[in-house]
């Protein structure tokens, strides 16, 4: 079962320099929420930003990771 720390590490590895916080929403190890602040998101639409994060986990989303809620932003943005 993935842990928040594991997911956090993998997002950081894929998006170097990103500020990443991952919470286990239910404590059950399958519903996570990730807040990611990265300059890699600059100039991308929300869809593209979220896809960058989803793509790190590929088919694990919907599998081992039942749900991953994502909030993305760039370092300059307020939300």
């Amino acid at each position: 079962m993935p842990t928040p720390a594991e997911l956090q590490e993998r997002i950081r590895a894929a998006l170097p320099g990103a500020d990443v916080t991952v919470d286990d929403l239910t404590g059950g190890g399958d519903h996570f929420r990730a807040e990611v602040v990265s300059n890699r998101f600059e100039g991308l639409s929300r869809i593209q930003q979220h896809k960058l994060v989803y793509d790190i986990f590929g088919s694990e989303i919907g599998g081992a990771i039942h749900a991953l809620s994502i909030k993305t932003s760039t370092p300059g943005a307020t939300s």
Binding site: R46, I47, H50, K51, Y54, S59, I61, G62, A67, L68, S69, I70, K71
Partner: protein, 129 residues
């Protein structure tokens, strides 16, 4: 129905409905909190939308995600384009961007408001039998 036909059916649903929501369950009986919130936002805006329950056949989800490149459910399409899943839809609902995109007024009440009869979503039958 084979996978190609399912994909074609999904594409047709996206093409024919300006506001098309793929979800778990139905707007009246959502089967997942994320789907419930997304349908709730559309209900609160009072827009007419079509909804398709992806649960009856696992291939619907496979083909939908293959087509959209988006791994999770729900998925909202407006004018044939993927707007996002529940996180993006809720963010856009709260900021007023969703109302703007859909050409409606931002309501003052909460997104959990019950849809009125005139604003009921259009049901789409899965037609997979």
């Amino acid at each position: 129905m084979n996978n190609d036909e399912i994909r074609e059916f999904i594409q047709q649903a996206i093409d024919e409905n300006n506001v098309m929501l793929f979800m778990k369950g139905t707007p009246n009986q959502p089967a997942c909190g994320f789907s419930a919130r997304t349908a709730g936002a559309l209900n609160a805006l009072g827009v007419q939308y079509a909804a398709l329950d992806i649960l009856p056949d696992p291939r619907i989800r496979e083909e939908l995600s293959g087509l959209s490149g988006w791994p999770t459910i729900p998925q909202l399409f407006v004018n044939k384009e993927l707007v996002g899943g529940s996180d993006i839809v809720m963010e856009m609902f709260e900021s007023g961007e969703l109302a703007e995109l859909l050409g409606v007024e931002q309501p003052e009440e909460s997104p959990q408001a019950e849809p009125e009869v005139a604003q009921r979503p259009i049901g789409l039958e899965n037609r997979l039998d």
